[in-house]
Symmetry: C2
Subunit: 311 residues, 2 copies
């Protein structure tokens, strides 16, 4: 996989991460058929990049038990690109074997969070990335390796995070062979100034594409996405209806609302190729599959601006 | 009233407009006592600028029948500043007689909207401002005259709005004697690029302070506020819990959420003097006074970031 083909530097790519990050915390999971409808309808609306699930023990994470099926679902759609998360060596091996064209993995921004959440020091996470990159280079399909620095803009354990630590980890990921690196505001602590400043520095490193992964926990999601775009990021994540939540703030909103994010990109002159009314209508799949789950987002309530305004 | 004292150019002022704009569309109105608690508790949290109501016929707009009482409520609080809206000559006369220290009025950005909504050409609205300014100059208390260009970023009737028309109207307001002028995204059509560009041009005119009044109809409210701040605006409006709605989009969100706006300003390094946890707790007044009214906002759900992060 050529990262520049999947994520062209001259346009904005928005990625649907609801099937992974959005399902991390929900109470009811969509069926495999439901996920497939979700993907097919979003694909028909123009979405091309899907995070499909995580390679985790199915007993503890039943929502991702069908991850291989969903990898295959995306692979069967024209120009669609699937991404799967792998949290450890076993997950990486399984992801590699699944043939998914992109493997995401995680490095905590702080040592405290890394030890508490992944039970390993950050250095081990970097070594796992180097290992995965070696396996990638030896593979036939050469998936994109795309680590994320979680808690990069504030940590649920340590609080404020030193941006220089984050930049050091971003550089370490690229040195380990990563094709792209995400900066994640995992718990939605940041405002646009902080997001813009860190993104600009990460882009300036020049190691490769920088993704900005935002949560709308404190209502700053869209403003932070605008700041990330202004700072040069060209890959942004969101989940339809803002599906998901925050393990540290019960009732909080989840990922930045995908359809509102698309509206933002278009309003800033970045064409996403996505048909917004079609995208909004896919919320019906989520509502029927997860009837108890609150969906967020302003565009779905208000509709697009009047026709004359859109002209 | 010296506008530079009420709105110092070297800091950001956030104004609570929920008692006027937020009540324009609600089904149940708060009691006068409820409004007074709302104001007193927000004042205790550090809020100083309150739009208190509109001078309109009480028979048709019962939610503003107590506007004179609320003007007096704000006047009695230390350092608090009250603003009342006047839509026509009669309203202006009444507002002037009430002693309210600031009178807001409206000019539609488009001729079509002006004729349909206010049944007058825009030129008449400008003449009314000149008349109000003459009355102000002859008054003892000399209230601030602060017109808003409604539909300045998109019109519910005409669609797209020519920014040069808006700038012409902003200049005409200042020439008529206005102390400050608001740019209003009345129906929430704009994204941050458009808001930033128009704000920068309006600030550059140099006529006086520029307020940016935003609605969160399509989820862009906070991102648009960030863009307005970046472009040099130093007065922003919001309503607690995003109270209000949009007459052209039933079920849509209303004004930008006041508490999330305060969080944004603080995150960008603009000190507002407002205690956020105290401000969020004032939502209880709205909930008990208007139990059926949906309140929006992410901060109220998620809470502030952890203590260490806030340090």
């Amino acid at each position: 996989m050529d990262v520049a083909e999947i994520y062209p530097a001259d346009r904005v790519t928005v990625r649907e991460v609801g099937l992974r990050d959005g399902l991390q915390l929900v109470k009811a999971f969509p069926s495999t058929r439901g996920k497939q409808r979700w993907i097919a309808e979003e694909h028909a609306a123009g979405v091309r990049h899907f995070e499909v699930g995580s390679f985790l023990p199915a007993a503890r994470f039943p929502q991702f038990a069908d991850v291989r099926d969903i990898v295959a679902t995306v692979a069967a759609l024209p120009d669609a690109h699937g991404i799967a998360l792998a949290m450890n060596e076993r997950g990486q091996d399984e992801a590699l074997a699944s043939g998914v064209p992109e493997i995401a993995c995680v490095v905590s921004a702080t040592e405290e969070h890394s030890l508490a959440n992944a039970r390993r020091p950050r250095q081990k996470a970097i070594e796992d990335i180097a290992r995965l990159c070696a396996l990638r280079d030896a593979s036939a399909h050469r998936p994109i390796v795309h680590p994320a620095i979680s808690m990069a803009l504030g940590c649920s354990i340590s609080g404020a995070v030193d941006p220089n630590e984050v930049l050091r980890l971003v550089a370490a990921c690229f040195e380990a062979g990563a094709d792209a690196v995400s900066i994640a505001d995992t718990v939605g602590y940041a405002g646009p100034k902080q997001v813009g400043e860190l993104t600009a520095l990460a882009v300036k490193l020049g190691g490769g594409p920088i993704t900005v992964h935002l949560h709308d926990t404190r209502g700053m999601g869209i403003a932070n996405a605008a700041a990330a775009l202004d700072a040069g990021a060209r890959i942004l994540d969101g989940s339809l209806g803002g599906l998901g939540g925050c393990p540290f703030a019960p009732g909080a909103t989840g990922n930045v609302v995908f359809e509102d994010l698309v509206f933002l990109c278009e309003s800033k002159g970045f064409s996403t190729g996505i048909d917004l009314p079609k995208l909004v209508s896919v919320r019906e799949v989520l509502q029927s599959e997860m009837p108890g789950e609150p969906l967020h987002g302003a565009l779905a309530r208000a509709g697009l601006p009047g026709k004359a305004a859109a002209a």
